[in-house]
């Protein structure tokens, strides 16, 4: 065939492609193996969480946030709770803060384990997937022990946490955390020096620090480029100002550095959990002025109107905090990046507007920048390295 007759080819990658981590659809304009243009299409997993929460009370909106980033539902819950607490001026007891920190780090490990599992699987290493899932199972079991659910935990509560942890759980967790760095070494034995892995990741998907900031990247994806930014350090929430940890940084901003960052985060998370268990204070786990789950004012009142439109916050005059805040933004460090909740409150028990600043949404936007000029195989590696979850992206 003569070269004049060749043309660019449009191909669809996804939404059913197994390596796009969910239902991400990428339209690739390719010339041979090289990608000329890449357009991500999102919205296949849109469930209207933000709109839905306008019709639910603050307490009821909490289980919805589980379904954002379902790999680390605990952190989503914590983020939402912190936003509502900021809105209503509730201060959380110390013990609850430590439990939340501990649980958040467990969720971070969980999420990163799925990331390393799927990322390695996409690039071609099957064994890591199996080993990572083995360790994740242990963590999910620990979640089940305390919260009663493995994935969608709904554990934190506005003003504290839902139920107390027992000694059995703490012992098991301590044992796990002590063993965990060895497990991380196992993964590293398998892929860290592997020549296939290095060829696929080193120097691929490079993004410089300045560009990364301009694209709005956060979390390990940003830190891989060597930018020191971590909400846990800069705007400490919960008990992060009471524990010691380092923020691992990359240098080149390629896929390998992002991978390295997350691998180091495993160890830091384990370190934080260990400190939390050691420092865990005694005391209450729910603030006195926390919202109550119980609903209508008198239990046997049977007025339909009352049941459906009753304001569900008891013992607290809403005007009090309305005068202080009307809108609030609180962000936390999710495994994927900065997860923010923006809540506008009118004088009802339901959020007037809730908006989620989802890291996956921002990160999906940077895909064209990373993929253009690369090869088709690198698209998969890039998707893996920015670690997106489409449940959070589409909300």
């Amino acid at each position: 065939m003569n070269p004049e007759n060749t043309r660019e080819l449009l191909i669809n990658m996804g939404p059913q492609h197994p390596a796009t981590h969910g239902v991400l659809r990428l339209v690739l304009e390719i010339e041979g193996e090289v990608i000329k243009k890449c357009i991500p299409y999102i919205g296949y997993l849109h469930r209207g969480v933000e709109k839905l929460s306008e019709d639910l009370t603050y307490v009821q909106s909490l289980p919805l946030t589980d379904r954002l980033d379902y790999l680390s539902s605990m952190i989503n819950n914590v983020g939402f709770c912190i936003a509502v607490e900021k809105l209503m001026g509730i201060s959380v007891p110390e013990r609850a803060k430590f439990i939340r920190t501990m649980m958040s780090e467990m969720a971070r490990i969980c999420s990163h384990l799925v990331w390393i599992a799927t990322h390695a699987l996409d690039v071609g290493a099957m064994t890591v997937f199996l080993y990572a899932m083995r360790d994740r199972e242990k963590l999910l079991e620990l979640f089940e022990m305390v919260t009663g659910a493995r994935l969608t935990v709904s554990y934190p509560r506005v003003g504290g946490v839902r139920c107390d942890v027992n000694q059995e759980f703490l012992d098991e967790l301590y044992k796990f955390v002590n063993e965990f760095p060895k497990k991380v070494e196992e993964y590293e034995t398998l892929i860290d020096r592997n020549r296939v892995w290095l060829r696929r990741t080193k120097g691929v998907g490079v993004i410089t620090a300045e560009e990364a900031i301009n694209w709005g990247l956060t979390g390990p994806t940003l830190r891989g480029s060597g930018v020191y930014y971590d909400i846990r350090k800069f705007f400490p929430y919960d008990a992060y100002d009471k524990v010691e940890f380092e923020v691992p940084l990359g240098k080149n901003g390629d896929i390998y550095d992002r991978y390295k960052c997350r691998m180091l985060e495993f160890r830091q998370s384990a370190k934080i959990i260990k400190q939390c268990i050691e420092l865990l204070p005694e005391g209450a786990i729910l603030a006195d002025d926390a919202l109550r789950i119980r609903m209508p004012s008198s239990p046997l009142k049977i007025d339909k109107k009352d049941i459906q439109f009753e304001i569900y916050i008891e013992d607290k005059s809403i005007e009090d905090f309305i005068n202080k805040f009307t809108e609030v933004y609180a962000s936390i460090e999710a495994p994927k990046g900065e997860l923010g909740f923006y809540i506008v409150c009118d004088d009802s028990a339901k959020p007037y507007r809730m908006r989620v600043r989802a890291p996956s949404f921002v990160h999906a936007g940077v895909l064209p920048r990373l993929c253009e000029g690369a090869l088709i195989a690198d698209v998969i590696a890039n998707i893996g390295s920015i670690d997106i979850v489409l449940g959070e992206c589409d909300r």
Partner: protein, 199 residues
């Protein structure tokens, strides 16, 4: 240094290390279980199949129709039908649409009389959606089925009284709720009552 690197590359050191790890794993204890034949232990307080608690004394459900579960439910899957007979409110039907339920257990926590429970039973699947809409009879049947599987003499759900929460936040009936006697436990209770009566 360079020479060493070349040797390492030729001898596939890093790959052999990885393979050695996987070979070692061959002799370690497997972490998988043969599911239908063996089952993993479910922790207490697991949020599974819905059930209405059968009152050990009168054999009926305990629901008083206060509608708290209906109000608190985020997915609005609980429907309670009530009727007024002789100036008394009677719960005629209690429907949970399990296909809509998100298993948050808010209803269990909100219930003032501990009438509702998400049991530790997680194996229930049907060919038809209609079967997932549990009415009152089905919910009581779920409880009986669960009780058959339950090994211990007493049952107490964690979310009736979440540990660590100040009891003054709960209504009186909830505060005083003790473990529910089942089978053998019921007999023990009866014996105790008989003994105290004979004395």
């Amino acid at each position: 240094m360079r020479f060493v690197e070349v040797i390492k590359k030729i001898l596939l050191i890093e790959i052999i290390k990885g393979l050695w790890l996987t070979l070692r794993m061959l002799f370690s204890k497997p972490v998988t279980i043969q599911y239908p034949l063996e089952r993993r232990k479910v922790h207490d307080g697991f949020r599974g199949k819905h059930a209405l608690v059968r009152d050990p004394i009168n054999g009926n459900d305990k629901c008083i129709g206060c509608m708290r579960c209906t109000t608190v439910c985020p997915s609005r899957c609980i429907h309670i039908k009530r009727a007024k007979t002789e100036n008394k409110m009677v719960v005629t039907d209690y429907i949970i649409d399990a296909s809509r339920c998100i298993y948050c257990a808010y209803c269990v926590e909100a219930c003032p009389v501990c009438a509702l429970v998400l049991t530790e039973d997680y194996e229930y699947s049907f060919y038809k959606r209609e079967n997932l809409i549990f009415n009152k009879d089905q919910l009581l049947k779920n409880w009986d089925e669960f009780v058959k599987k339950w090994q211990k003499d007493y049952y107490f759900n964690k979310f009736w009284q979440p540990p660590g929460i100040d009891p003054s936040r709960w209504p009186k009936t909830k505060r005083e709720q003790g473990p529910i006697p089942l089978k053998r436990g019921l007999e023990i209770e009866r014996e105790r009552v008989d003994e105290s009566n004979s004395r």
